[in-house]
């Protein structure tokens, strides 16, 4: 009986795609955290604290961000060292909305202007703050602001066929320029203090543990949707074209595609996902400031993806969550050593597991007989391909 149950379990796992596993894990984790947060008293061993809920919410935002970087880097070969810019813009769009929700509860009690504007002796809202009190407008801007930046940047860079290291440096310069700009008080985004002291979101108090839990759940849902969308994209013909562009861009051109527009497209989609991550991040940590645009942050995202394993969507998520968790732990023990640890981890993983943690997973799954095809096959991609095509079954390289 027990044997049989185990067997069925193994069968089920074998049949699941990574999409099922990731979304399923997210679902179970969300239910678990929510239940343990709500049902058990604070003294209970099983209780998940409000702090932990917010912390997990933050990790999921990072996972979303890593997913965005993996789409452009892992699948399209665009090593963006500036994705923090899109994250930051999404965050500021949310921050502006949250500032307006404060209303007259600010220090200066001005119902119209956020505190920092009153402090600067401004008498009216700058034009680009118009509409920021509307929730819908905010949601729109979370997509549009990073999208426009990515579109303009992409059109300029990809159409003039800039790639490789030069492109990476340009993305880095882009986020650095934004950081300097947002530091200026005259920009009207709160200067180096950024936007903070938020009170409520869509009528729910941000101090309320239930709101925090709600934000966590929303983030989990956003991650699941983004994962599904990304998975759809990379499995489509467009995904194949993007990967082909990564490996042989000029060949793609001679086949009749315009790879520059494909690159712009995926760059914009990725920027929007990063924007959503930023927007969900801000209410959970309670602040957005120009530090988010720091080039260092953007590089850290790339390290997550490299450690987790690029060219697999779940790898990016694993990398972001594990490294962020390690960071939380590590900085609590000896903060000054964290960057060394991160650097060391990066070097080690690159040397030992060039494909990251995700690259090592198929081997582990095989050892426990959990993978879909136990025959010797260099990559699982083969199988994924043949299953996806459906009608045309390839003779598997079996029997060896």
């Amino acid at each position: 009986m027990n044997m049989k149950t185990t067997h069925t379990f193994v069968e089920i796992i074998r049949k699941m795609s990574h999409l099922h596993i990731v979304v399923g894990t997210l679902f179970v984790a969300t239910i678990y955290v929510s239940f343990c947060n709500l049902a058990f008293a604070e003294s209970s061993f099983l209780h998940v604290s409000d702090y932990t809920v917010s912390l997990f919410g933050k990790y999921l935002c990072y996972a979303l961000l890593a997913l965005a970087v993996d789409l452009v880097w892992g699948y399209c070969g665009i090593l963006s060292l500036g994705h923090g810019a899109f994250f930051g813009l999404g965050g500021y769009a949310m921050g502006m909305y949250l500032m307006r929700q404060i209303g007259d509860r600010g220090v200066y009690g001005n119902a119209e202007l956020p505190d920092f504007m009153v402090f600067l002796n401004w008498t009216e809202l700058p034009w680009y703050w118009a509409g920021s009190s509307s929730f819908l407008w905010m949601v729109l801007m979370v997509f549009v602001a990073p999208g426009i930046l990515a579109f303009v940047f992409g059109m300029l860079a990809f159409r003039s066929r800039v790639s490789g290291v030069y492109l990476s440096i340009m993305t880095q310069a882009m986020t650095y320029a934004l950081m300097l700009a947002f530091f200026r008080n005259e920009m009207g985004f709160g200067g180096n203090n950024g936007l903070t002291d938020f009170k409520e979101i869509a009528g729910f108090s941000l101090q309320d543990p239930h709101t925090k839990l709600g934000l966590f759940v929303v983030t989990a849902i956003a991650l699941a949707i983004a994962y599904w969308v990304s998975n759809y994209i990379v499995k489509s013909k467009l995904g194949a074209i993007i990967t082909a562009t990564r490996d042989a861009e000029s060949r793609v051109r001679f086949v009749g595609y315009k790879p520059e527009y494909y690159k712009v497209w995926i760059f914009v989609v990725s920027a929007m996902i990063a924007g959503v991550a930023g927007a969900l991040y801000v209410p959970q940590v309670g602040i957005i400031n120009p530090g988010e645009f720091s080039p260092l942050n953007s590089i850290e995202i790339v390290v997550w993806v490299a450690i987790g394993g690029r060219y697999t969507l779940y790898g990016a998520i694993i990398g972001a969550i594990l490294v962020s968790y390690a960071k939380t732990r590590f900085t609590a023990i000896m903060p000054e050593a964290w960057l060394f640890a991160l650097g060391g981890l990066f070097v080690l993983v690159t040397l030992l597991f060039p494909k990251g943690i995700a690259g090592a997973l198929p081997g582990v799954a095989r050892r426990f007989g959990l993978d879909a095809n136990t025959n010797d096959n260099k990559t699982n991609k083969n199988n994924a391909q043949s299953e996806e095509q459906g009608t045309l079954k390839a003779p598997r390289a079996g029997g060896q």
């Binding site: 074209i241 082909a244 490996d247 042989a248 051109r253 086949v255 009749g256 315009k258 083969n382 009608t391």
Partner: protein
Amino acid sequence: MIVDKAGTPITATDNVQPDTRHGVILYVEDVSVSFDGFKALNDLNLYINDGELRCLIGANGAGKTTLMDVITGKIRPDTGKVNFGQQVDLLQLDESEIARVGIGRKFQKPTVFEALSVYKNIELSLAGDKGIWTSLFGKLTGEQRDRIDEILRTIGLTNEAFYMAERLSHGQKQWLEIGMLLAAEPRVLLVDEPVAGMTGQETERTAELLTSLAGEHSVVVVEHDMAFVRSIARTVTVLHQGSVLAEGSMSEVQSNPEVIKVYLGEDSGEDSGDDNSEGYPSESGEEYIEASSSKEG
């Protein structure tokens, strides 16, 4: 942008029918290209007839690959005209648009999409809408699947359909690239050294395939392997220092004193390769071609 006679733009995805009433599908007229003073192409004139199979030969540096680059839009010539049929000016189009009007190219070094399966490689190359949204939401039709299967059979890779292209042997990659060309259903195929690195048997099959393609398609083959050229060629064009040196049947070209002089140097007046039927370069002409230094390769 492609403009029809009335001046209204045609989108490149529309099937552009080249005007071949004069029997010529590709016009290359007075084309010159120079790199830092070096004249890679020098007032070159070449006309490819609709449906013919043409071989281009010439020593390294004669301008063969540069000519392909010009036709496919990779290099813009300094002067000259390149037309597809009578009315489509190829110099107005970029690489992808030229590919879509019906000029396919196989590279010297096989370039396939290594991280994708053989099947996907062919799928991406199929003729049709190459727009972003079609690629995102489009599904293969039954007709397209049949077409892919047919191509896989033609190139002998049916059993390898779901292998990653990186796992193929060199010769198989060459074939895959030819398959990708076929999938695009081009009017003109530019084929750069199709049999490099192939075994004798593979070479034979390639010769058969290219000969069978002529008629429906126009095929331009650049090849160093004289035995191969002799086995397929009806018309041969010899390039030398960026211009056409001679044109005609293989035997005409081989007996042309200019060609002999250029190919074999002053000291040898022999035919350039009768003693060389395996298709590998030996002492005479072909080796000279291989050994010449150049920008190509």
